[in-house]
């Protein structure tokens, strides 16, 4: 597979890369570049080079997972490039080829798939109150913990319709609507993406010594959710 050619089929890539003159304004404005050892200008330079080896290295690296997709780069680029869109195309291809499991940040995709992906397909939401387990979300503080422990009463107090029928915030999405979302995932390639994340992650988990057991690689999920080797930040 020619990687550049494959990237060129992604509309985000077509829209995101026009003609970079390496001015670096994207790096100056980028929230990720301040925090991580990340330079969006270099992303544009590498893909512009059409150097297959360098693009493959990029697809296997932590670097493409540093972007927060805020799209601040879009606003300021004098040539109308959007590195955030290029990143989206690179991440899609990295997952298609299984390269995402070669980096610590890339491996995190399985945890996102297991929570956000399965919420969307089976509940019709990206995020649910049940996900905000205090141990996993200490930043939510005492109020978050209080909400989590009193979900039904708190949401009722503020007018939400938590798990209820009909309209309202946090209503239960009718099954026939969830069935439609399921079919959309089947027909549009949504499940292909989710299945590939599972497939390549399981191979990686086994190679790292994790076993499936009865809990579908929960130790591996816990590992990728919490591990940070401390080498990602700008020094």
């Amino acid at each position: 597979m020619e990687l550049y050619e494959e990237l060129s089929t992604d509309i985000r890539f077509i829209e995101g890369l026009n003609s970079c003159m390496n001015c670096g304004i994207c790096t100056a404005i980028c929230p990720a570049a301040e925090f991580y050892d990340y330079d969006p200008r270099l992303i544009a330079t590498i893909v512009h080079s059409k150097d297959e080896k360098r693009i493959e290295e990029l697809l296997k690296s932590d670097v493409i997972w540093y972007c927060g997709e805020c799209m601040s780069c879009k606003t300021r680029c004098p040539r109308g490039n959007t590195v955030g869109l290029i990143i989206m195309a690179l991440r899609s291809l990295s997952q298609e080829l299984g390269y995402f499991t070669e980096s610590e940040k890339g491996r995190q995709q399985l945890a996102i798939k297991r929570v956000i992906g399965e919420n969307i397909v089976y509940k019709g939401y990206c995020v649910l109150p049940e996900n905000l387990v205090p141990e996993m979300h200490p930043e939510q503080g005492p109020v978050g913990e209080w909400i989590f422990q009193n979900k039904k009463e708190v949401y009722k107090r503020v007018g939400a319709n938590y798990n209820g029928d009909g309209t309202g915030a946090l209503r239960k999405i009718p099954q026939e609507s969830l069935d439609e979302i399921y079919r959309i995932f089947e027909i549009t390639g949504g499940f292909d993406r989710l299945d590939k994340i599972e497939h390549f992650s399981k191979i990686k988990a086994e190679s790292m010594g994790f076993t499936e057991g009865r809990d579908d690689y929960s130790d591996y999920i816990s590992h990728i959710f919490t591990t940070n080797n401390g080498k990602h930040n700008r020094q």
Binding site: E15, C126, I187, T188
Partner: protein, 354 residues
């Protein structure tokens, strides 16, 4: 930039906002963290402004957080969004009112993609027909819910009981406005005032008597970054970006922060608590945090709504300093009560909430 320059920019970026008859789509994040704000928005439109706004229980997440954390392909999200448009079309509406900034950005991205790549529109129509049997029309008007509040800000001011004014000193409250990145950074023409000097929240603050704080990191991202918050080991990115904003706004002594994004007010609220826990640092006055609110909560306070009815007890950083400055009456004993005053326990407050 001087005020005259901003006014010129605002004039260059005006958008049409439908006057009535909206199809409402909710936000995943806001339903979790600020459900009272969505409820307040609907109450303002229906009861105060007497507008027609319709919610269909069959609409779902747009899948935007999945898309921007790269587990949902573009073809999939286009079809999910097309399904929302189909529900709108079937209900007889042409104007969509979007609660979420991520969704708003995605709706604009997809509609613009369909204009530039008509084959994508054809493919999406086919996908939707095959998967659901539905067909759709593209909305004539796409407005973020904050656009609609902005449009009616003068009417809200006239209906209001309160102003964004310190009732003891008579001076305007100093408000920091934070615009969600996807409101207009991708498509400046889709936001009121463009991307560099958006006027959507500034216009509300000014109309309701407050003073907008301009500060160096005004347009900096709150640090959500999708995967950068979703994964525990990435959250240093998120808090660092919020901290950068707090440090930048602190010298201006803001009385409150207001945002039109789902995640931003939650992060700007929660990270203040975390920074105090980690460093003992607070950014508000008298050792307190800076109260953070949604634009619906701000509108609701102006209209005299009860802060606990709107869900302001779901904030980690106490909002009472703001309420006290505005002279708003509230019952502290009912802050953490359930419906009809039911006792359900209360959080053990520390830090900015203590």
């Amino acid at each position: 930039m001087k005020q005259e320059g901003k006014i010129k920019v605002w004039q260059d970026y005006q958008k049409e906002i439908a006057d009535d008859h909206y199809f409402y789509v909710r936000s995943c994040i806001r339903q979790n963290f600020f459900p009272g704000s969505e409820q307040t928005f609907l109450k303002i439109l229906r009861s105060e402004l007497h507008k027609d706004i319709y919610e269909n229980p069959h609409h779902t997440s747009c899948s935007g957080i999945g898309y921007h954390s790269d587990i949902v392909p573009f073809g999939t999200i286009q079809t999910i969004v097309a399904r929302q448009f189909a529900l709108m079309t079937e209900a007889g509406y042409q104007n969509i009112a979007v609660s979420c900034i991520t969704s708003f950005g995605i709706y604009n991205e997809i509609i613009e993609t369909w204009k530039e790549f008509p084959a994508e529109l054809d493919k999406t129509r086919e996908y939707l027909k095959r998967s659901t049997g539905r067909t759709f029309e593209i909305p004539q008007n796409v407005a973020h819910a904050s656009d609609i509040v902005y449009k009616f800000r003068q009417q809200i001011a006239e209906l209001g009981h309160n102003r964004l004014i310190n009732h003891k000193t008579g001076k305007p409250l100093k408000i920091v406005e934070h615009i969600g990145c996807h409101y207009s950074k991708m498509f400046p023409s889709k936001g009121i005032g463009g991307a560099e000097f958006p006027h959507v929240l500034a216009g509300m603050i000014e109309a309701w008597g407050g003073e907008v704080i301009d500060y160096p990191e005004r347009r900096h991202c709150c640090g959500f970054g999708f995967r950068q918050y979703l994964i525990m080991s990435n959250r240093g990115y998120s808090i660092s970006n919020s901290r950068k904003k707090f440090e930048s706004m602190e010298p201006y002594q803001p009385d409150a922060i207001v945002s039109n994004c789902p995640g931003c007010p939650m992060f700007l609220d929660r990270w203040q608590y975390v920074i105090e826990e980690m460093e003992g640092k607070t950014y508000g006055q008298n050792g307190q945090g800076i109260p953070v609110m949604t634009y619906e909560e701000m509108a609701g306070l102006v209209l005299g709504y009860d802060p606990w009815d709107m869900g302001m007890q779901m904030h980690q950083t106490n909002v009472e300093p703001l309420l006290d400055k505005m002279g708003i009456q509230y019952n502290p004993d009912l802050k953490y009560a359930g419906k009809d005053g039911k006792t359900i326990g209360s959080p053990v407050m520390v830090g900015c909430g203590g």
